[in-house]
Symmetry: C2
Subunit: 433 residues, 2 copies
């Protein structure tokens, strides 16, 4: 029996996080963590629905909601089985709308909205198959996975045949890694201690709490006043000791030369990586920074908007860490493409998370990547931020600093109906009170 | 007396061009040429208004309209004099909105909307100064021009001092080039003959008409069936003879290897350039294509979304022609930045036009570039498409295949009130009938 998508809705959900400076960084002084939230209603006898979101930071969420509605006409009336039978064709149809394409292509508002819709489709697909997404993907054959990817614009570097080879190499050892993940989980690091708007005392206390909770890697925001950056970095390095890893994140605030100079000073605290040192479009700039700041690694990704840009970063040797984003890219299909590209170039994938629902999403990606694509934990870790999980039906479980694989069917980003009602913008109680 | 912006409106204006296949190409089978159209009302005693637009192709124009309204709060209540006194600060404020920035940054819907608003501000500024935009810019000192540019993310390659030097080199000879432009105009090429949806007979007749009108350069769309591409290219080459220039435009339809193969076959008709051979994000792919297809040049730009991407293309040696777009970039300020980058790297600027209002816009850019920045006509030509000019208050004047400098104050993209009323979507007569 096929499951037909009868109706698609999109809602504007915003959390007033700017009131407490949670999430504050060098470029986002006052984000209101938000989501364009898509629900696909079906005729499934159990009432299964697909839920998907794209993360935003407040103003403009309504643009993504409106874009998701424009794209949704492409799924309403279709069955999930029909879509699953031609995943790459489905995805190319979405990004190829001949009029909407002008507004990107494959970037900005329309691509963020594409993610919300594509993620909802995969959530529904996994629910129909009665598996968490990571397991659904990890059970697919190499041929099935390759059939999910649109190789347009990347096949000069990664032809489908080579993607198949990468996946086939890992097939025999998949079960062992799955057992390992179920037992031990995937390594996480925390960003919760280091927001730019927090006081020195607050970050020290939070760092100690994080270590007590089992985290061995910690990230802080930089890119404010250089003296203040260094003072805070010293506090954190002192708190975590010499053997744990400290990462710094500038959120694009610097130019290329500025980044190189700033890292000369911060090198004292031995950062493992500098994240988003400059514009996410500056591939060659990242390469120059990487050459100048080694052995500090260069990381980026939350704003790297599609597989073509990832191809540039990887081809140019511009980065040490691939911080894939589950909503910046056009959903699961494009995520698979980038995991394959990263595997080809031997660059570790350390997904970006935080925001709203991103932790819920990326745990699936990191675990699937380990089981079936990258096949290694070397230099791999997945961001964790301790915010807003209480709004999800199946929130992440992070134990002893590791993401424990989700067990509920789907892609984990389904929000509670009461949270949707309270935080809907502008009519929800959180905004009218 | 200062001129204060009292109110900003944004409208969704669409022309049903898909009904006649005007504008059809390999990726846009059926565009409805459209615009998000911004009007800035002021307290100026003559009732001066700033009019600005961004070009779109139908569905999704409402997203740009909504984004323009979100951005417009940054100009309402300010005077044009105050804005003009800190142009780079004004521009950075627009692209730096800490919540909207997440939706780009500096790309997609929000950046297109930024262009509409910034172009409206410059239209108003030029009207207040009682000059056409090209003349306003050409009369600015090097210091004034540099003060319009946000050098964030480009100063590693083009520091402000070097930009000043480029501009100063041309100051003494500006008057001679201005006289030349007023007398002879700026060279144009036509795309009107070569739309993909037109029949063989139609393109032959249109090519002959174009030559009769004085054009010596002609562009055709390719990227359909390879045999059909070659057949049509031969028709046009035969029609224009061996000495005129024929350009081909694939509108991103190919991958890198595909582009190289396709151009092997089309080389027979000796194209001057291949435009948009592949994804506009594929900087390194363009470089590979360029190396493979020489002496055919590689051109791109209508989808190159900001100065950082232009920096990549120019640094990488990936292109022979810089097809700057007046609305893809964030308006006049960012256009000046890219003209300076192109001048530094010695790459000729050949603006993208067509659409709605783009010809009206880019004539100012091309003429200003010649007078004050690039200072040369070598390998320079500006696109011309013979559509929709009748809707503008001051339409372009193209004579003997050259753009004659506009004389009316402003940036020329003010549409007639009756056109705005008839083509407003969805309520205008063109859509309700």
């Amino acid at each position: 029996m096929a499951t037909k998508i009868l109706r698609a809705t999109a809602r504007d959900i915003r959390f007033p996080t700017s009131r407490t400076l949670d999430g504050s960084d060098a470029m986002s002084a006052d984000p209101d963590y938000s989501a364009a939230y898509v629900v696909l209603e079906t005729d499934h006898p159990s009432g299964l629905e697909g839920h998907g979101l794209t993360f935003t930071t407040g103003r403009g969420t309504e643009l993504c909601v409106a874009a998701a509605k424009l794209l949704a006409v492409q799924v309403v009336g279709r069955t999930i089985e029909e879509i699953a039978a031609d995943m790459s064709g489905f995805w190319r149809g979405l990004v190829g709308d001949s009029q909407l394409r002008w507004l990107g292509p494959e970037k900005g508002v329309v691509h963020l909205a594409t993610a919300a819709l594509v993620n909802a489709v995969w959530d529904l697909y996994a629910k129909v198959e009665d598996k968490p997404l990571w397991k659904l993907l990890s059970d697919m054959s190499p041929d099935e996975l390759v059939a999910c990817v649109d190789f347009r614009y990347i096949d000069d570097v990664l032809p489908p045949d080579e993607a198949l080879e990468i996946l086939r190499l890992n097939v025999a050892t998949r079960p062992a890694r799955e057992v390992e993940m179920l037992r031990e989980g995937f390594p996480a690091y925390t960003t919760s201690a280091g927001w730019l708007g927090y006081s020195d005392e607050k970050i020290r206390v939070l760092a100690e709490q994080a270590m007590a909770a089992g985290f061995t890697q910690l990230k802080m925001k930089v890119g404010g006043d250089p003296e203040s950056d260094l003072r805070r970095a010293r506090i954190l390095r002192e708190a975590i000791g010499p053997d744990r890893q400290l990462m710094v994140d500038a959120n694009q605030v610097w130019g290329v030369d500025e980044a190189i100079n700033a890292m000369r000073s911060l090198a004292e605290v031995k950062p493992w990586w500098i994240e988003e040192p400059t514009s996410p479009d500056d591939v060659l700039g990242h390469r120059r920074i990487r050459e100048a700041v080694a052995p500090i690694g260069v990381a980026t990704g939350e704003h790297v908007h599609n597989r073509v840009m990832w191809k540039q970063f990887l081809q140019a040797g511009a980065i040490d860490f691939c911080q894939i984003d589950s909503c910046r890219l056009g959903g699961v299909n494009e995520v698979i493409a980038v995991l394959l590209l990263a595997a080809k170039f031997g660059v570790p994938v350390c997904p970006h998370a935080g925001g709203v629902g991103l932790c819920e999403y990326v745990q699936h990606i990191a675990i699937f990547d380990y089981i079936a694509v990258g096949g290694s934990l070397d230099n791999r870790t997945c961001e964790y931020v301790d915010h807003l999980h209480e709004h999800f039906v199946h929130p992440v479980r992070v134990e002893h600093g590791r993401y424990m694989p989700p067990t509920a069917p789907g892609y984990s980003a389904e929000m509670k109906p009461e949270s949707l009602a309270v935080y809907e913008y502008p009519g929800g109680k959180a905004w009218t009170d």
